[in-house]
Symmetry: C2
Subunit: 361 residues, 2 copies
């Protein structure tokens, strides 16, 4: 059979490591290089680092990018002689990943990023999005941003559910999840365990951010449907606990904040057409809220979809990034979104064969 599909794993945090482990379980695909900026990881054998057998790939510092400037003195990783695609798990923000993506494109590699803003970078960084699209187009390769949300629940799945609709008047989608498995960083950015006053101050200072991805999801939905989006209104408010909620990482007393209720509404023709709701908190079930993903399409026909409990965020993001590899390798060149590629599906056989089928060979 032909050479395995060759992947570069850039970023070995919780998400990147999970993606790398998943890649190692698939047939017809292999990791040929791995980059991370953590000095403790650099130099380790990737396979051993992932908790498995050694695979002879040593973790390197990231390669130089335009963000390093012309006289970067830092140790820099070397690109492999041959590869097909980079899986990028380094940051949530287009500004931070754009130099990494452009460098990968210059190497002639396709890119899948889990940066939330890359799900539809035209929403916030139109200039960078155009640069990436042009660079990818001129190199004949493709770039995709994906993940569970943005990337699937509040955009891809919403759009798919409008497929059987003759008309759509309004879209409302809600993701109610439980942050219990997450550690201190997530608790801090969602304001879990703060007082109501601290929460307000955290919002004002930007320390409490809520969900990153609403703008991307709403812009992508509107673009694919052909709606002219006029504006987006976002609201963040504290979810105040009525009863004690305790996880391994945080204790929330009654009256304290259990999380951030974040909503965003997209307006079209002066009407609220796309309403996305994503309260993120610890243990919503102790106060009777059922975790789940909920989509309501008001139209002809009206449709109600539920996934209970919600699709797990961490596993879902890892899976989406890896499972979209054949779709990206078979795609037209340029910067693409989930709405422009074939639907995601799990990789349960030899990935080379799945790719061949997707290419129509």
């Amino acid at each position: 059979m032909t050479t395995p599909i060759q992947v570069v794993q850039w970023g070995l945090g919780a998400m990147g490591s999970g993606m790398a482990r998943l890649l190692r379980q698939k047939d017809g695909i292999e990791i040929v290089a791995a980059f991370d900026r953590d000095a403790n990881k650099i130099g380790q054998d990737l396979g051993a680092f992932l908790g498995g057998e050694k695979n002879g790939v040593l973790i390197q510092a990231p390669p130089l990018t335009e963000a390093d400037g012309p006289e970067a003195g830092r140790p820099a990783g070397k690109w492999p002689q041959r590869a097909d695609l980079v899986l990028l798990a380094t940051s949530s923000f287009t500004r931070e990943v754009a130099p990494q993506i452009k460098e990968a494109l210059r190497q002639g590699l396709n890119v899948i990023s889990i940066a939330e803003e890359m799900a539809y970078p035209y929403a916030r960084e139109e200039g960078l999005a155009r640069e990436i699209d042009q660079e990818a187009g001129s190199r004949g390769v493709s770039v995709l941003g994906t993940g569970i949300n943005p990337g699937f629940v509040l955009d891809t799945l919403v759009l798919a559910l409008t497929g059987p609709c003759l008309e759509v008047k309004k879209i409302k989608a809600t993701r109610i999840n439980d942050l219990s498995p997450f550690g201190p960083t997530v608790m801090r950015t969602q304001g879990v365990g703060t007082t109501v006053d601290e929460f307000a101050a955290g919002l004002a200072s930007g320390a409490i951010v809520g969900h990153v991805g609403f703008r991307e999801s709403i812009h992508l939905i509107a673009k694919a449907l052909g709606w002219r989006l006029e504006r987006i209104e976002e609201q963040r408010s504290p979810i105040v606990a009525k009863v004690r909620r305790e996880t391994p990482y945080v204790k929330v007393e009654p009256g304290q904040v259990a999380g951030c209720r974040h909503t965003a509404v997209g307006y079209v023709g002066g009407e609220a057409k796309i309403e996305l709701i994503h309260p993120q908190q610890v243990l919503p079930q102790v106060e009777g809220a059922e975790t789940g993903d909920y989509i309501e399409i008001s139209g002809k026909p009206s449709l109600n979809l539920m996934i209970k409990p919600e699709i797990p965020g961490g596993l879902g993001t890892m899976a989406m990034a890896v499972n979209m590899i054949p779709q990206v390798l078979a795609a037209r060149p340029g910067l693409l979104s989930m709405a422009e590629l074939p639907l995601p599906s799990a990789l349960l056989g030899d990935v080379r064969e799945i790719l061949k089928w997707r290419k129509g060979e």
Copy 2:
């Protein structure tokens, strides 16, 4: 602005008429020819026939195909001078639509068919599927089979739900619908109102068929996931009414048959991996069954999706066929399936702009 996208509507039964009405409501798209074999329709103005304003397009007999033989004497419709795509709503079976599709391809037109077997024609008619793929490829146009089921609920949506999965052990999907809106033909093919003995005889003679589409859905799911399908086992059994069920078209007494419970199981590696269940009956709710579409993925993570009530079959099929037009016009040439094209989404703006975006222009 550029010329509208030009569509030929072939088939003006309940589905085809609905598709044509929907097309007339969309911006940037127009019907330039319409074919139907019903002598009562031929010669009528299409717009008036659809219950709206005249549009100057006269309904014609279908154009000649290879199925007519070399010396067909029948009146034959003429193809328009220019068109982009044919919407085909004439039959459920690949054997019957293949000559029509091939003729459209020879005219250089893309094709969307709602024939159930065309959702994945390789499942039953590999030879014809290959011929269509080659003809489409050589003409530089694309062919898609779609609809609500097969085409969406028990295949496209199932596949999409495996996108966030690292592993999938088993798939089970159930569509419980209510046949009450349907007339005598559907009652007959599902055995509604028969005795248990008549039902058995109907199955044996082929008069009672159950659902057409299981083989297509299972083959498509397996292909996209990379599973090697070994065999499919189908079962049809009578749904016996415990209480009286009455619709405008049929009366079912207790002890009579209210519909056909049809299931299909796809085996991979000796295991039942894909289980599809589609009981079709009148008024399931009177005996406590909730209509809906249900998908269970057993894997990592396991996922449970519900759409309640079920997506309406008729409206869903019309919408899917029309909404996939931009995806098909932007696709690579050849015979394609829903799993190889971007996910379906409603057309709510100018279809020319949506197409331009899908083409990356």
